[in-house]
């Protein structure tokens, strides 16, 4: 819904302050859950939509990865995740950000599917005319797990850098994202932690 509203606004006003970029990339990630030894590593693909319109921004990202465990006790799994963030710039380098996210695994119950709201801050600074760096910090509100339970602490931080042509048509982008969700079921701590790096290219228009 938010995406539709924003794209409609972009279509209605094609001023200089708006930028739309589509991108694809490769990812590498580490996923840990429920204590020492339960860790998966893997690679995959991601796709991004990045829109700026006046003081509003939208970032939508989809991830797809095949994860392999470092232990023979658990099986391989596929991860599918979608993140949506909407931001509003309050000062030139700082924006407040809100959004949703959902991560699912296949086969079912091989790891915890989780959905959450997020509320945080985005700070982006230009390094030069064609390069910028950004950092995010967000609190993940009320995560829902398919295996039940609740989380006391759920946060994410991320770092990104983009370098492109001066006209904004082409950009190389790299992102790092760290997520920690302290899940607890019936007083038993079953934490989740994710560390992900992506690198890709974007085309703007």
């Amino acid at each position: 819904m938010a995406l539709a509203v924003l794209l409609a606004a972009v279509a209605a006003d094609r001023g200089e302050a708006q930028v739309v970029r589509f991108g694809i990339g490769a990812l590498g990630m580490t996923y840990s859950e429920s204590g020492e030894g339960l860790r998966w590593e893997g690679e995959g693909l991601n796709g991004t939509l990045w829109v700026r319109y006046k003081r509003f921004g939208l970032d939508a990202t989809g991830y797809m990865a095949k994860l392999k465990p470092d232990s023979s006790d658990v099986s391989e799994m596929d991860m599918l995740e979608g993140d949506l963030r909407v931001s509003f710039s309050i000062v030139p380098a700082v924006a407040i950000e809100a959004g949703i996210g959902h991560r699912a695994f296949d086969p079912e119950f091989s790891a915890q599917d989780v959905g959450f709201w997020r509320l945080g801050v985005l700070s982006e600074m230009p390094l030069a005319r064609m390069a910028s760096i950004w950092a995010r910090g967000a609190y993940l509100i009320a995560p829902q797990f398919d295996g039940g339970g609740e989380a006391n602490l759920s946060v994410e931080v991320s770092l990104g850098v983009g370098v492109g042509t001066a006209n904004g048509r082409f950009r190389v982008r790299a992102d790092y994202e760290f997520q920690r969700i302290d899940r607890e079921v019936n007083g038993v701590e079953l934490p989740i932690q994710l560390s992900r790096a992506t690198i890709g290219v974007e085309l703007g228009f």
């Binding site: 580490t30 840990s32 590593e41 390094l127 030069a128 946060v155 770092l159 760290f178 302290d182 790096a197």
Partner: protein
């Protein structure tokens, strides 16, 4: 007879390099005057005047006669001789450096008794028609009405007609016709006529009027004393991008490590290391690379002002040139006196 011829031949040989006169008696009169033989000078001058003489010889003959009579204190004869001299060449005067005061005084007396116009002159000048003038000067020997006319090219313009006293006078001529147009190009006679009763004397000189286009004004390429400033300036090397990259990377890396759950296996943190390294490299490259030129708003505005002012001044010049092209540059030249 033979002696006389030999004397004449000797005198000719002696006098030829010194004198310009063609008539032998004129030269003999000059020689006699120079030798203080005033009677001999009178005899030779009288004898010369009975012959057909050139204008110059006639002038010299009457001059020798006047000088010699005045030197012998034969005043009336001297005045008569000077009258003839003045009519022939009004501008010729005794040289006060070489002749006696008595001669000068008799010449002045002779001049005061007759009406002549002397030293008629027009200053050569160039000016835009209607915006300048040239000076015409003349002397009259007695109080009279002086009429200054320009005649030629079908025109007969009276420039001035006024009563004047004896002495020097001047008027200024704008070289325009009665309707105010510039006089046509060509040759003219400037005639100053002094009239005293039925007595009158005219002194003409030839003048030439030329027409030319007036020089137009060059358009300006730049305003004198002002020059355009560079609108884009490349700033100096800036380490700010690297600083920002270090700050952001440090904050995120620090936060990630601090937030890691110790109960979980974090692995080698290769995702954090990889992206952090890329961010730092990007910051370093943006700091080291030559910065892009940046627009200097103050200089852009300054240059716009200069160009606007330049255009305004060139418009004014164009308007001025439009007027100038309709003007005529007159050049008026005096080409010397003519015979009277």
């Amino acid at each position: 007879m033979t002696r006389r011829l030999m004397l004449l031949a000797g005198l000719l040989l002696m006098a030829a390099p010194l004198e310009a006169q063609e008539n032998v008696y004129v030269r003999l009169a000059q020689q006699a005057y120079n030798d203080v033989d005033f009677s001999g000078a009178i005899d030779n001058a009288r004898r010369a005047l009975q012959e057909q003489l050139s204008r110059e010889d006639r002038i010299v003959a009457w001059e020798m006669l006047g000088y010699s009579y005045a030197s012998l204190n034969r005043r009336d004869e001297a005045v008569d001789a000077f009258h003839q001299l003045i009519f022939l060449d009004p501008d010729r005067e005794p040289d006060v450096e070489t002749v006696s005061p008595r001669i000068t005084e008799v010449y002045t007396t002779a001049l005061a008794r007759i009406l002549v116009v002397r030293r008629t002159n027009l200053d050569s000048a160039s000016f835009i028609a209607g915006q300048g003038s040239t000076r015409i000067s003349y002397d009259v020997s007695r109080a009279s009405r002086a009429v200054v006319r320009v005649a030629g090219q079908g025109l007969n313009l009276t420039i001035d007609s006024t009563l004047v006293g004896a002495g020097a006078h001047e008027i200024f001529w704008r070289a325009t016709t009665v309707s105010g147009d510039p006089v046509p190009a060509g040759s003219y006679q400037l005639v100053v006529t002094a009239i005293e009763g039925s007595n009158e004397f005219a002194s003409p000189i030839d003048i030439v009027v030329r027409h030319a286009a007036v020089d137009t004004i060059w358009h300006l390429d730049s305003l004198p004393g002002y020059q355009e400033q560079p609108e884009y300036v490349r700033p100096g090397r800036d380490w700010r991008p690297l600083g920002i990259a270090v700050l952001y990377t440090g904050l995120v890396a620090g936060a990630s490590v601090a937030l890691e759950n110790s109960a979980l296996d974090v692995g080698e943190r290769k995702e954090l290391a990889g992206v952090s390294l890329l961010a730092l490299i990007a910051g370093a490259v943006m700091s080291i690379k030559k910065p892009d030129p940046e627009p200097v708003q103050a200089n852009i505005l300054y240059n716009q002002l200069l160009r606007t002012e330049l255009a305004r001044q060139n418009e004014a010049i164009a308007r001025q040139n439009e007027l100038i092209r309709r003007q005529t540059m007159l050049t008026i030249v005096s080409v010397g006196e003519t015979d009277q």
